[in-house]
Amino acid sequence: MKTVLLQGGRLITAAGVIEADLRVSNGIIAEIGKSLAPATGELVIDVSGQWVGPGFVDLHTHLREPGDEAAETISSGARAGIVGGFTALLGMPNTQPALDNVALVSFVLAEGKRTPITIAVAGAITQGRQGEQLAPMAEMAGLGVQIFTDDGSGVQSAGVMRRALSYAKPLGVRLAQHCEDATLAGAGVMNEGALAESLGLQGRSGISEEIMVQRDIDLVRSTGSRMHFLHLSTARSIDLVVAAKVEGLDITCEVTPHHLTLDESTCATYDPIFKVHPPLRSSHDVLALREALRRGLIDAVATDHAPHAPESKDRAFDEAPAGMLGLETAASLTFEALGQEKCDPELFFSVLSRGPARIAKLQKNNELHGLSAQGGELLVGEEANLTVFNPMATWTVDARALQSRASNTPFDGRVMTGRVSAVIAKGTLVLHEGKLQ
């Protein structure tokens, strides 16, 4: 492994932000200090003014393999992750077939090990994600699975969800919910309201999310279990979760970069690139999500990276599948949501790295499962999983140039501020000057 010296960066450490050099050698953080002298043969990278912190962790990636390799593979998803600054991805189980057993989880973990980064897996809560019979969570937990979800849809039956929370409690794992009540969401394709009614598009209400958030908070309280809320999209959902946290319930939540930066007005173009579940909400909700993020009330920004092959998005709005790419634009959008020049680097790494790593229990090296520690402190002797973010860089999104197999980003052509310049994963420099190594 090449020795790398990061010079002049702002290091995001437990003790705050410090200006120092950092050397990675033999895969570990070998030295941190002022004005470290370059060693012979060492790659010296000038990161003056750039932020050096723990590698990003995405709690919500649809890797699509097995089943929809035309949209994404574990390998292409990992490359997209690296360009986006991620050293760990949590693959969602709504593949074809769903990741609801040991064999399928093992397949994704094994494929993940062939990539340069850490690929963790979320297992399904119910068999086939049908919301009826519990999946073998204990067996999957034995493989190191820490998060279970039927994401793509929520577990509709309150009875089944309560049973799942009870069953999962002693396993130490966390259930994650895609909150949408199917009877209220119906066939809705965009945010319910005046705009949807004017466009003649069926609405997907905020209440369909909030009613399940409220239900699950009550179920967590009654079972004493723990819970993560995926991609919350409304002001009211955030209020409910904040109140539950204040009450002392073990509840965490994430928001997506797109819900922080786009609102429902984009749907007026009828371009299915803006179709996503939960849908893009009102500008009021976007502002509330941003405010909550800035106040540190959100545990994680998670991408809900959802690749779809081009042919599936070349359809009418109501016929096209929901979902958009997220990995390669997440850091810039989070930076934007946190106010760019006002963005606090510690909060930035908290929502992109430490928070999600804690939720997915990736903070400790798990040799049994071959997962390297994520979201930790920058300490000498630790394996290096680092991301360097340049808050001064600007770049233009080019959908065709993305690493994902699909190109369904709603941000094509958008000029972004802030970009990941380098990534060191498992001690190896995998991204340098924004390019895969």
């Binding site: 309201g193 005046a194 705009l195 004017s198 042919e311 009418a316 109501d318 016929e319």
Partner: protein, 334 residues
């Protein structure tokens, strides 16, 4: 609706796509109505044909079943001497899973000047207009969004009828017969593209519009459409100069928005008893196809106040006007 459907207001559809009526100014609508008047005369000739679009190719793409709109559009195109490419979607590659973009690209490759598009999905016409920016797109009904030519022919029919009653030349009246005209639209506003287009046209022309129907079939944001909501249906019937009924679209699953059809008829059907509340000179309209006995009683539909058949026959001249204007300025055929 114009506040929400986007900023730009079109002063004329000359050389433009026709996707939605909410983006048309009063002048643009009146222009279509006036041109349509001149085509009424063409339709009364022995040889019902003018060479306006000779050499032009119009593709008629109906992704959703339709009888009257399709016949009316294709007749209109032929009377303007255009060549009509008619794609039978039900038996086409669309059924085999071809994407909308690919289907349009295939048709475009045959060399077309305009597309008449009917699709079950809202926004399909706008999407197609982006796929083939060099082709004029006429929306013949997109999902629950808009049905612009229906809105235009409804306005045309009202103006024609009122002008005739007063012995006026319709095309000399501009929009004045609509000023203060009280129009009541009844039924499934929520799922109706006809309602959205009618409301846009009537409001642009200066009419007062009221809607009536069970709450489950009304948009929650209806107040923002610049219309009022009838608190009392019977009083609204007494108020109206024109009553436009909408089809209860059972095929779209809207049946579940009301408990039973009988109850709908009992509460919002235009029965003979309710029709007796109308002003003697009030007009009764329906875009068809009618569910006789559900939203409208047969006797009322065939009665003296109904101008439903006239709506159908006006479809051709209005669509001729739309094709003529929209395709104006196109160069020689390819």
């Amino acid at each position: 609706m114009d506040w929400i459907d986007g900023g730009s207001v079109m002063q004329s559809i000359r050389g433009q796509n026709l996707l939605s009526l909410s983006e048309l100014s009063k002048e643009a609508i009146v222009e279509v109505l006036d041109i349509a008047e001149s085509f009424v005369e063409v339709n009364q000739r022995t040889i019902k044909k003018v060479p306006a679009l000779k050499g032009k190719v119009v593709a008629s793409l109906f992704f959703e079943e339709s009888t009257r709109t399709r016949l009316s559009f294709e007749t209109a195109a032929k009377r303007l001497s255009a060549d009509v490419l008619s794609l039978a979607i039900a038996s086409s590659s669309v059924k085999k899973g071809e994407s909308l973009r690919d289907t349009i690209a295939t048709v475009d490759a045959l060399g077309i000047d305009a597309v008449i598009l009917r699709h079950a999905s809202s926004g399909a016409a706008e999407q197609v207009s982006r796929y083939v920016p060099h082709v004029r797109v006429i929306n013949a009904g997109d999902g629950q969004h808009q049905h612009p030519t229906q809105g235009l022919l409804d306005a045309f029919t009202i103006r024609q009828t009122l002008a005739a009653r007063r012995g006026l030349n319709s095309s000399e009246t501009g929009a004045e017969l609509f000023v203060g005209l009280k129009i009541l639209i009844v039924g499934d506003i929520r799922h109706s593209r006809v309602a959205r287009s009618d409301i846009a046209a009537y409001r642009s022309l200066g009419a007062e519009v009221m809607v009536a129907g069970p709450p489950t079939l009304l948009p929650q944001s209806v107040a923002q459409w610049g219309v009022t909501h009838a608190e009392n249906f019977e009083e609204a019937l007494r108020w109206a100069d024109v009553v436009g009924l909408l089809r209860l679209q059972r095929e779209r699953g809207t049946g579940s928005f009301v408990p039973t059809l009988n109850e709908y008829t009992a509460t919002y059907g235009l029965t003979e008893e309710r029709a007796a509340l109308l002003k003697p000179e009030a007009l009764v309209m329906h875009p068809g196809p009618m569910n006789r006995g559900i939203e409208i009683d047969s006797k009322v539909a065939d009665g003296p106040q109904a101008i439903i058949e006239r709506q159908v026959s006006n479809g051709v001249p209005v669509r001729m006007a739309v094709l003529y204007l929209s395709m104006a300025g196109l160069g020689g055929s390819k």
